[in-house]
Symmetry: C2
């Protein structure tokens, strides 16, 4: 039968994600993939997870396998509230927490809750592909704002919002990844965090703060990476956290911290999206925090990833030809390359893949018809040797193309 004739307007709007198509090519054996932003798989705390599961009493196991509530497992909610206050210095007054099936679900819920067709969302240029997909899925429009070395360009942000207002477009929220932005690796400076909040206040537009990497810093101090939400006493920042980089993405556990009434609405929406997040995963995440494994893991991973980052920065320095620029991330998983304007990253990709090196072209993280001379490199799940080899090969391709 002709099912597509029955599709909704929103379904007809769905497009295949380029990154996923590219990553399929990157999955072949012997490929050095600097593509997906995977955590270092050699470091997953599998033994700790087995210890946790092995310690469960019969009653606890029964609860871990049973239906759960939509809001989340209460002891996990308590652990996260404590974490937000003590570790992230966020006041929970008037705020509440919803467990989500990864941060991707948080983005889907927020899109559904805020966006009517053609409503605008402010995103950084470049920004996380999964967020962009979620906003498009709710028929929203993307308004890009430039990043400089200190994060979002406050002047450009102000102009963009003012311009939207002038044109009668409704801006529903500002989406930002302040720490080690995916894909650029750029961090919002401490000074600009307050300024971002000031813009939000001036225009009365909430901020969605996506913070998957905040604990994984390799330079500076913890104070440099505390959330924008820390500065917010009016419930205008909606904070997204996740266990994907602090434990395992395979468990699919994230959380939203936001105004209590908003959380209640998001909870209602989540009921029809997936009823509740895996209780089994939530029990693991809860014990992982309670037992302090999370702290040991973070301490270890800061060292592991710092070495990888340094290896990639060193290799870029050693091998790259003139005319290529890159960011120096203070944490997270990614480095962003700017090629000379006439070089098409997709051409680079095709030639590199032939030589068994993969990455993601920058246009995946940008609105359509934006410049095509960017590349995202992930060092997070690669051995030091392969990072060096991968960059050497990529540099060779670029040298040939630049000529």
């Amino acid at each position: 039968m002709d099912l597509p004739s029955l599709f909704s307007e929103s379904a007809l709007n769905l497009k295949s994600s380029k990154i996923r198509e590219l990553l399929k090519m990157a999955g072949v054996p012997d490929m050095i993939s600097m593509g997906g932003g995977n955590p270092d798989s050699a470091s997953f705390p599998f033994e700790e997870i087995k210890t946790i599961i092995g310690s469960w009493s019969y009653d606890r196991a029964k609860a871990a396998l049973q239906y759960g509530t939509t809001k989340g497992y209460v002891p996990l909610l308590e652990e996260i509230a404590d974490w937000m206050v003590k570790r992230k210095k966020v006041s929970m007054e008037g705020q509440d927490i919803l467990i989500t099936t990864g941060s991707q679900q948080a983005l889907a819920l927020l899109s559904k809750l805020f966006l009517n067709k053609d409503d605008a969302v402010i995103v950084e240029l470049p920004s996380f592909i999964g967020a962009i997909a979620a906003f498009y899925s709710s028929m929203g429009r993307i308004e890009g704002v430039r990043l400089d070395e200190e994060g979002i360009d406050i002047g450009d942000l102000d102009r963009t919002i003012a311009d939207c207002k002038k044109k009668g477009k409704t801006v529903k929220f500002i989406y930002t990844i302040p720490n080690f932005n995916n894909p650029s690796g750029i961090t919002l400076s401490r000074e600009k965090r307050q300024k971002l909040l000031d813009v939000s206040r001036r225009y009365d537009i909430p901020i969605v703060e996506d913070d998957p990497y905040g604990e994984l810093f390799y330079d500076g101090t913890v104070e440099d990476y505390l959330p924008v939400k820390r500065l917010d006493s009016e419930g205008r920042v909606i904070y997204l956290g996740t266990f994907s980089k602090l434990l395992s993405p395979g468990l699919r556990v994230g959380w939203i911290v936001a105004d209590g009434e908003l959380v209640a609405k998001l909870e209602l929406q989540k009921q029809s999206y997936d009823a509740f997040t895996s209780t089994f995963s939530q029990f693991i995440a809860c014990d992982y925090m309670k037992r302090g494994y999370i702290n040991t893991y973070i301490d270890k991973m800061r060292k592991v990833y710092r070495e990888k980052r340094d290896a990639m920065l060193g290799a870029l320095e050693r091998y790259m030809p003139e005319g290529i620029q890159w960011t120096t991330p203070k944490g997270g998983f990614f480095i962003w390359l700017t090629l000379p304007g006439e070089i098409d990253a997709e051409e680079v990709f095709k030639k590199s893949v032939e030589r068994k090196v993969a990455f993601v072209t920058g246009d995946a993280f940008l609105p359509e018809d934006y410049a095509r001379n960017y590349i995202r490199l992930a060092y997070s799940d690669l051995d030091i040797d392969r990072i060096d080899k991968g960059i050497e090969i990529l540099a060779g391709v670029l040298r040939e193309m630049i000529g």
Copy 2:
């Protein structure tokens, strides 16, 4: 700040689910809850799950904790395809499978893919509350069709669709739970399965077949409960399966079997909903099938649940006053009570809860302004003794009210 002023039209449409409000009251200690449709928690295969996880090699554990693909873990997809062909007698020709985060996500994806505002969905009266919530969440309209003892009333179905057409309403699909409908316990007879498909063909409207309980039959033979999809060679049936009742709801793993192109679209939609379903859970489900644990569990649970059903039917027979009618489910978790027309189930609920007995009022499973004299009873997660005690108390309340 005033967040609600920024909400989307769909958010303003969100309503709190009554069942969840009622179940909160049911969670107090010593309550005999016949409310939630929980699997028997004393029977969860926790030892098998520990054996499975304990058997994983280092490489397998790494993959189970890492990011996964949106479509699902390939060996699990293969196990399910095999299951659909051999156990469910479904032809997979032209059909494909998508792993979902429980069947609830399948319902959300299908709603999003098919429904524009005010599009109609045909549902049984009564029908699953999570499905109704998903359809409303996509701003769809519910068109109810009566059930008789043999399942959906084919004449009423035909009339309802014809009537929608006459009024210019677009009907996007027919949603049915043919085996032991939640909440009524009613099963679609073998004869009527073909007739349902004939209606779908006549009007060219697909069927969404939700089959969480199909393996859990206590009377008849396996042939009686094979899916409607088995009879379909045109890709008009979209089949939903889940591990929630065959392993654990806490793992959140379900699947959709449908036309290949439709599955590709659903996969795209799932990308922005939660990127992928827990790899950890999928690995457990895969090994659980591969090792044959699923068959042992099903065999055991048919006996466990049959005893519970028989206990509840026996108690109803023993204790209920004249004027109360109930269904006799051939499988699944639920019995549906029809009270005398003048009795309001919510009044019954309030009085029962005072005596520590909870259930769900039938209006939760029906369109607004439908009759209020129905009750759903779940026997699935209660000891035999408590089933007897619970029915005795409920019967006492009803006897007083009927007077």
